[in-house]
């Protein structure tokens, strides 16, 4: 399928490309002496430190989360205890404010149960008097 007319052009082009490719392939790489190489030990230590910090960070976060969970449980226990105390105090208040308890205390204080209702009606201010009803 080659076109005979273009053969000389192709040959010249091929020669140019080959020449340039050869030059690129033969380019010199820098000559590294043993002193200039990266220190492997430092690199390993660096990686270990990074890994260690990461692990310690994870441990710290995990511990903090666990600590929060324990604190939550502790606070819930405290809330329950306070609720229990409140119930116990309410019970004491109910007992102290019950009618029978009040009656006992009133009698002990020298009070006497009312036998029939009585009302004081304030008359006109000018009269400056009161009327006892009942």
């Amino acid at each position: 399928m080659a076109i005979p007319v273009l053969a000389p052009v192709n040959a010249r082009s091929k020669k140019i490309v080959t020449g340039k490719t050869s030059r690129a392939a033969l380019r010199l790489v820098p000559d590294l002496s043993s002193r200039e190489r990266a220190d492997r030990k430092v690199f390993v230590i660096f990686l270990s430190v990074i890994g260690g910090i990461g692990l310690l960070g994870l441990l710290a976060i995990n511990t903090m989360l666990a600590q929060d969970a324990f604190e939550l449980a502790h606070l819930q226990t405290q809330a329950t205890a306070l609720s229990d105390q409140r119930e116990a105090i309410m019970r004491q208040i109910d007992q102290a404010s019950s009618p029978e308890e009040l009656a006992i205390r009133a009698i002990a204080a020298g009070m006497v149960p009312s036998q029939s209702p009585r009302f004081l009606t304030l008359n006109t201010p000018q009269a400056n008097s009161v009327t006892l009803k009942g």
């Binding site: 666990a66 929060d68 969970a69 324990f70 939550l72 449980a73 329950t80 205890a81 609720s83 229990d84 119930e87 116990a88 019970r91 109910d94 007992q95 019950s98 009618p99 029978e100 009312s114 036998q115 029939s116 209702p117 009585r118 009302f119 009606t121 009803k133 009942g134």
Partner: protein
């Protein structure tokens, strides 16, 4: 060429092997991720976490001011893992005094191989704290060499128990719950579905049988039951309870009840019974004591029933408060003699006088002016033989024989309040209708409800039924004032400074054991102020020994309770003058002469 063929065959085998292994892995992957995905997820979830229920407290029952009659409080069931208890005897010695149990009983509960065993139910949180502290102190007192003797293996199971702070005050109305926390009697039973809360759900990570702290997650919130606010006033209830309890004891009666009612609204302010029980301790309470006698026990009302006969006759225009009747002390009707309580000469009495001295013969004579069906229809209108609609559990509708089955002696018997039965609540409702200008409002003890968020919804107003006209009701109120006067049967019920109206009842009592009349029912039902009634109070005493008159036994109880109600509700006297209707023929004649003289002048 031969080497190339060998390589190709080896590559083929290797490829086949890889494909086979990958195929198996892919198959298992699809099986786990798609086919059995759900069951694996469930298995994983149950292995890691457990779902448990959160108990929900029942709603409270309170008085009209919010004072709690019944409430749910925290309680702890003490359970043990018997396999973990190293020294059951020592365990029992420490726990028994704190749990108020015998050492033997505790030892029995903690000895054995059961991983879960209930030692004591519903102890208070304070008791649980004491128990924990006692075991902690004991364990700390042990030296290192006795570390194996440490006592543990007991756990709390938190829940709720029902507490009744008022004790016996209102036991018969409130009722109680059974061991499972379900209403077993009274309002606790009839309103159980409303009072019961909805249990919640939560999940937790399971670590060897214990919940891992912080792993709990609430899935469904527990919902407290509806709180029911009653119309009862705790203080009025206490006075009523004291008064009826003292009266029952003093008269050696079988039982007694007091009901305080607002006739306009039908609301019950107090509902006291004696004897009663403490809902906090129902182990030794008999079934009979658990009943609510106010609505479950029926009795023949006796003379308090005469108000219905007179109401009917007044309403039908057959009599006026001053119509004169000739009243002997006994009367023969259909070959049977009916007698007054005491022998007396033949008198000329007005209906007011008949009520004042509570004449049976007089009531029969008034009743004779009515047909049987008319008398029957008025009894029905007053609510006899029909449930009052109070909504209280086990309410009886009373007993009223159908008029078609009345014999010749039924009408005269019914006319003075016997031959039919009512509950104390029905009897109170009859007088409430007279106090409320002739409109009978069905009684209620429910003021409203509060949901778990505290939103209060008041009860709907009660419907009223007109029984008699307001004129008839006013006439009756005036007539009933004479009962409480010095000429009446209940001067003990009078409250100085106030106008009081009411009626005594002393009826023969049916004894269920012999199905015969034995003993009496003494009662007094009244209201105050008589000319502007605010409260109706009924006092009923069953089977008193010795003195059995309704006025003598019921009057003082009425006075004590009504005095307190009037004071506590700041109801002052009406300051109106009571002009009594004439009680007998002589007084009618005197009144007529005065009227004629006035006309001449």
């Amino acid at each position: 060429m031969a080497n190339f063929s060998l390589s190709r065959s080896r590559i083929g085998v290797l490829l086949f092997s890889f494909l086979l292994i990958l195929g198996l892995i892919a198959f298992r992957l699809v099986d786990i991720q798609a086919v059995q995905a759900h069951s694996y997820a469930v298995r994983a979830a149950t292995e890691m976490s457990t779902i448990s229920t959160m108990p929900a407290p029942r709603g409270a029952l309170t008085d009209v001011n919010g004072v709690e009659f019944a409430r749910s409080v925290s309680a702890i069931n003490v359970v043990v893992d018997q396999t973990l208890i190293a020294d059951p005897i020592k365990f029992a010695e420490i726990a028994a005094p704190i749990l108020s149990m015998s050492v033997g009983d505790v030892e029995k509960q903690v000895t054995g191989k059961r991983r879960w065993n209930l030692v004591e139910r519903n102890v208070t949180p304070a008791t649980w704290v004491s128990l924990k502290s006692a075991f902690s102190a004991y364990n700390q007192s042990l030296g290192k060499k006795d570390i194996s003797k440490r006592l543990f293996g007991f756990f709390p199971e938190r829940g709720y128990t029902r507490e009744y702070p008022s004790g016996t005050l209102i036991g018969s109305l409130i009722g109680f719950v059974n061991q499972a926390g379900v209403g077993a009697a009274g309002l606790e039973s009839s309103m159980n579905s409303m009072l019961t809360g909805v249990e919640g759900k939560y999940s937790y990570a399971n670590g060897y049988g214990a919940e891992i702290p912080g792993s709990q997650q609430e899935l469904v919130q527990a919902k407290t039951g509806t709180t029911v606010r009653l119309t009862i006033d705790r203080d009025v209830q206490w006075i009523a309870s004291q008064a009826i309890s003292d009266a029952v004891k003093a008269s050696h009666a079988i039982s007694g009840t007091v009901i305080v009612m607002d006739p306009k609204t039908g609301q019950i302010l107090a509902h006291a019974t004696a004897p009663t029980f403490d809902p906090n301790n129902t182990k030794k309470v008999s079934l009979a004591l658990m009943r609510n006698p106010s609505v479950q026990d029926v009795y023949e009302p006796g003379s308090t029933g005469k108000v219905m006969t007179l109401s009917a006759a007044l309403e039908e225009g057959k009599i006026t408060p001053t119509t004169i009747f000739t009243v002997p002390d006994s009367l023969k009707v259909s070959n049977r003699y009916f007698r007054d309580h005491e022998k007396h000469a033949t008198e000329t009495l007005t209906p007011t006088g008949i009520l004042a001295i509570s004449s049976n013969v007089g009531a029969i004579k008034v009743g004779q002016k009515l047909s049987n069906s008319t008398l029957y229809s008025y009894l029905k209108k007053f609510g006899v033989g029909t449930n009052t609609g109070s909504g209280l559990p086990g309410e009886s509708q009373g007993v009223l024989p159908d008029v078609a089955h009345w014999s010749g002696t039924t009408a005269p018997t019914v006319a003075f309040g016997q031959g039919y039965s009512v509950t104390a609540m029905q009897a109170t409702s009859i007088f409430a209708a007279i106090a409320n200008d002739g409109i009978r409002v069905s009684p209620t003890v429910i003021a409203g409800t509060s949901d778990s968020d505290g939103h209060f919804t008041p009860s709907a107003n009660r419907d009223g039924i007109r029984v008699i006209s307001s004129t008839t009701a006013a006439e009756l109120r005036l007539m009933l004032e004479s009962v409480v006067s010095v000429n009446g049967t209940a001067p003990e019920a009078a409250i100085p400074g106030y106008r009081v109206a009411g009626k005594t009842g002393t009826a023969q009592r049916v004894d269920e054991s012999c199905h015969c009349y034995r003993g009496y029912t003494a009662s007094f039902i009244g209201f105050a102020p008589a000319d502007k009634p605010r409260y109706v109070i009924s006092v009923t005493i069953q089977g008193p020994q010795g003195i059995h008159w309704g006025g003598t036994l019921g009057g003082p109880v009425f006075k004590k309770v009504m005095s307190f109600v009037l004071q506590s509700r700041h109801i002052s006297p009406t300051n109106t003058r009571f002009t009594a209707y004439p009680l007998n023929g002589a007084q009618v004649a005197k009144m007529q002469i005065v009227a004629i003289k006035k006309a001449i002048k």
